[in-house]
């Protein structure tokens, strides 16, 4: 039986990239806002940065970089029809993504414990520049965290599809697009690390 299946992998990837550039503009706007506020309140941003746990930020960078690597390795494995390897790589990515979120939650919990959370009473007593710093910190890392959760959900589906052969050697554009999203999440974190954690 020969059935005609319309497929346009190029178009699928182009569509994904067009979506990704909207994400780049979304975060880019926040980065531009950050740069102005840092220019305006250099001392407060320096102090705010020194309050953040740089070690956790660096560990999370390595976690995300490695999770990005394993996604791209999973694509190579699918191209070579090495299904078990592909599942192992994707499973590693999912695990590392969860590790990222767990570390992030500990970090945020410590801030909450010190009375630092959006709209908190303690935050209102800080100088305006530090309020802006923490406002941007919670907005940008929070929005990034939501993207990590979205990316993990997408890659979880990809894992299922590889396991059930819906993604296979001759048909893997979904995995490529899911991977593209995950890499963008990684790129955003690459910028967040020096802007917040290494700002001191």
């Amino acid at each position: 039986m020969t059935e005609h299946v319309h497929r346009d992998d190029f178009g699928a990837r182009l569509g994904m990239w067009l979506f990704l550039v909207t994400e780049m503009v979304l975060f880019g706007g926040l980065f531009i806002g950050y740069s102005y506020m840092r220019y305006r309140y250099p001392a407060e941003f320096h102090h705010g940065g020194s309050e953040l746990n740089a070690t956790l930020g660096i560990i999370n960078t390595l976690v995300l970089l490695t999770s990005s690597l394993t996604v791209v390795l999973a694509i190579v494995a699918v191209q070579r029809a090495e299904k078990k390897r592909a599942l192992a790589f994707l499973g590693t990515t999912l695990g590392l993504g969860l590790v990222f979120l767990i570390i992030k939650s500990f970090e945020w919990a410590a801030k909450f414990h010190h009375g630092l959370y959006p709209n908190s009473r303690h935050l209102a007593t800080l100088p305006p520049g530090e309020q802006v710093f923490y406002g941007l910190y919670f907005t940008m890392t929070g929005l990034h965290g939501l993207h990590v959760i979205a990316g993990l959900s997408v890659l979880g589906v990809m894992f299922w599809w590889v396991a059930t052969d819906r993604i296979r050697q001759d048909r893997y554009v979904h995995l490529e697009n899911g991977g593209l999203y995950w890499h963008l999440v990684d790129v955003i974190w690459i910028f967040l690390l020096p802007l917040f954690y290494l700002a001191a």
Binding site: L65, V72, V76, F191
Partner: protein, 100 residues
Amino acid sequence: MSEHVEASADHSVEHPGYGTYIKIWVILVVLTGCLVGVSHLGQTAAVWGLLTLTPLKAGLVFYYFMHLKYEGPLFKVVVLVTLGTLLIFFALLFSDIAFR
């Protein structure tokens, strides 16, 4: 046209193997180490590290992990136009601040 022909025509370039990506990952980890090291050398060095090493890392992820290297010119143009637009907005904002 069969599914297979379309798919293979789409991916005419030879796929890179595991090794290429692992090398890029090693470079990314080393660059992260450099960025952290530079951030301890004082404010000026930290800002220069931020402005050079961070875009370099992002570029490597875009070019290799996100396969831009293996895509046609259209994808590269889409990304460059976006980055150019952001740069224009950045320049407009800071020119506004400078002449206020």
